[in-house]
């Protein structure tokens, strides 16, 4: 029957229940297994076919040649929409999506992730942690 | 779609027959591409009576939307009307680009007003019989004479946009 305060039982019961919210910045939350987060690139697989550049909806990815048969990939994280179409289109499976989603940064320059093996250094991670 | 996409079912054929009977010049202009879809190309001058015939006799009383097309020399307007059982009739007619004048259909479909305002703003059509009203969707300070959906209109990139592109 219609009465004011219909939710009172549920509301009082939730005092004794664990709260559903968490303190996000202090307690990290983990995204599921196949989450489409930041895209990473493994230079040794890439053959420079540039299909990913053609298929990217927001042309956020560029592939540069750094030696014969060696390529580096620059992803503009501020333009990328994380649809992972490049991951699907890449014939050599050189690109894959990670579970990392905390990519906000104050400085636009920080948002260019460059993956490529400089002759001696290991692929340096450009994005701000 | 569940039925085969190839042929249309009997109902669409019946409607096609009625249309061709009533307007003989439509004979090769009406095609039923798939179940519940009929496309018709008509002349601008007899668009009005085809529309009235469709509403009164064939029962297409619901207007989905009006699409504006820019086919080079002419502007095309496609009226998508449907009825309770889901069959959708799309009537298109072309108007020369120099004087793109069409008359309003708000007397048959009151909600058509906002679709026609969109045509005015984006394609530069002039709609007869549509009263004064709030402009949609472009901002008030949009320069007159610029119609974004025309093929010859290019987006001007401001310097700040170019800089952090």
């Amino acid at each position: 029957m219609i009465r004011p305060g219909a939710m009172i039982k549920q509301v009082l019961a939730s005092i004794f229940r664990k709260p559903a919210t968490t303190r996000y910045p202090f307690i990290r939350s983990q995204m599921p297994e196949h989450f489409r987060g930041k895209i990473t690139f493994s230079p040794e697989m890439c053959i420079g076919c540039k299909i990913c550049i053609r298929d990217c909806p927001s042309n956020a990815i560029t592939i540069n040649k750094t030696g014969d048969k060696r390529f580096e990939c620059v992803i503009n994280l501020s333009k990328c929409v994380y649809c992972a179409q490049c991951v699907d289109s890449c014939p050599k499976k050189a690109l894959h999506a990670t579970r990392e989603f905390e990519l906000a940064s104050l400085d636009v320059k920080k948002l260019k992730a460059t993956y490529g093996d400089k002759p001696q250094a290991k692929p340096e991670e450009g994005a701000a942690k | 779609m569940t039925e085969a996409i190839v042929g249309a079912t009997a109902k669409e054929e019946a409607i096609r027959q009625k249309l061709v009977e009533r307007f003989p010049f439509l004979a090769d202009k009406v095609r039923a591409t798939r179940p519940r879809r009929i496309f018709a190309l008509v002349e601008a001058k007899d668009f009005e009576n085809v529309l009235v015939f469709a509403i009164q006799e064939l029962g297409f009383t619901i207007l989905c939307t009006i699409t504006g097309l820019d086919d080079g020399p002419t502007l095309g307007f496609v009226y998508h009307i449907t009825r309770q059982d889901g069959i959708t009739l799309n009537i298109q007619y072309d108007v020369p680009k120099e004087n793109p004048v069409i008359n309003t259909v708000t007397k048959y479909f009151p909600p058509a007003e906002i679709y026609e305002r969109e045509l005015i703003d984006l394609l530069g059509a002039r709609v007869e019989g549509l009263g004064e009203g709030v402009r949609y969707p472009l901002p008030d300070d949009w320069p007159a004479g610029e119609y974004p959906l025309r093929k010859d209109w290019k987006k001007k990139i401001s310097d700040t946009e170019a800089e952090n592109a």
């Binding site: 305060g5 939710m7 009172i8 509301v11 709260p19 559903a20 968490t22 | -």
Partner: protein
């Protein structure tokens, strides 16, 4: 000197401000836990107050600056002076004379008037509508509140809060007759503090922030503080009038008992904030005149009958 100390520090401004913010924390934390949320940390109300106080306050051009600035000050001083007449934990309030009940009730109405004037003086559309709404709401809940609080006074046939407290402290069974009055004054307190079922003047989804739309910086901080203090003083008044048992035992025990009573009333308020939707202004007035006022008459009737029975 002692009076200055009493006024400014102990039962006065500093103590009440601290209690107000602490009660606001309890209210928000309970409200959050009732909604299955974690809720703010303990220092949230203090942080809000300090942040607001540090912010720049903008005074609208057409607004009358003197009145615009004066309103929050009036609101705070009115609530604090009202607290001097209320017997909080010892039987006698700081000041008490025959008739201080009426003075307290008027002092507690002044904040609503300051919301009205504040809203009206900030000349913005939203705050004008909010101001008008807070006045119309005032008429709806003020009458039942007065009746509900006067009926215990009738039985104790005195107009002073302290004597009333002593009278009920002497023979507690009469308390049971005032329970209807207690319920009515809880509803009226909800209206006075503009808590959810009746927070129509400050309905953020309709008129931005109602009367407080134009206020910012220190002025808004003072207004928010005045609402918190009013919550404490209001529940202290209700505790003094309706639950005056155990006033005699001074010292820590008495203070603890007083805190318990205030916390009980504050939790009732936040529970009602959780389970009700906000009423429209016409529904609120209709509800107040159709249900709350008749019960207030009933309460007065009971008190008169009881008074008659006692007199013999």
């Amino acid at each position: 000197m002692i009076a200055l100390f009493n006024m400014l520090v102990f039962p006065g401004f500093l103590f009440l401000a601290f209690m107000g913010l602490a009660c606001e924390y309890i209210d928000r934390k309970l409200y959050a836990r009732l909604q299955n949320r974690v809720g703010p940390p303990w220092f949230q109300p203090f942080a809000d107050f300090i942040k607001l106080a540090a912010k720049e306050e903008i005074i609208p051009e057409e607004a009358n600056p003197r009145m615009f600035k004066a309103m929050p000050v009036f609101a705070i001083t009115a609530t604090i002076t009202a607290s001097f007449y209320i017997p909080m934990w010892n039987a006698r309030a700081l000041l008490s004379f025959n008739g201080d009940l009426i003075v307290t009730l008027y002092l507690l109405t002044i904040p609503t008037l300051t919301y009205f004037l504040g809203g009206w003086y900030s000349t913005s559309l939203y705050s004008k509508i909010g101001a008008v709404r807070s006045l119309t709401q005032l008429f709806a809940y003020e009458v039942p509140l007065l009746m509900a609080i006067l009926s215990p006074a009738l039985i104790a046939n005195t107009w002073s809060l302290s004597e009333m407290a002593r009278f009920y402290n002497a023979h507690p069974p009469y308390l049971l007759f005032n329970m209807i009055g207690f319920a009515i004054s809880i509803v009226a307190l909800l209206g006075k503090l503009e808590k959810v079922p009746f927070d129509i003047p400050e309905a953020e989804t309709e008129i931005v922030a109602g009367t407080f739309t134009e206020y910012s910086g220190r002025l808004l901080a003072m207004f928010r503080l005045s609402i918190d203090i009013e919550a404490v003083v209001g529940s202290a008044l209700l505790a003094a009038v309706y639950l005056p048992f155990g006033l005699g035992i001074g010292g820590a025990m008495g203070f603890g008992l007083f805190m318990m009573k205030v916390l009980l009333i504050i939790s009732i308020l936040s529970l009602s904030r959780t389970i009700f939707a906000r009423l429209r202004i016409d529904q609120m007035i209709e509800f107040c005149w159709k249900y709350v006022s008749p019960f207030a008459f009933l309460q007065i009737l009971i008190s008169l009958i009881l008074k008659g029975a006692l007199a013999r």
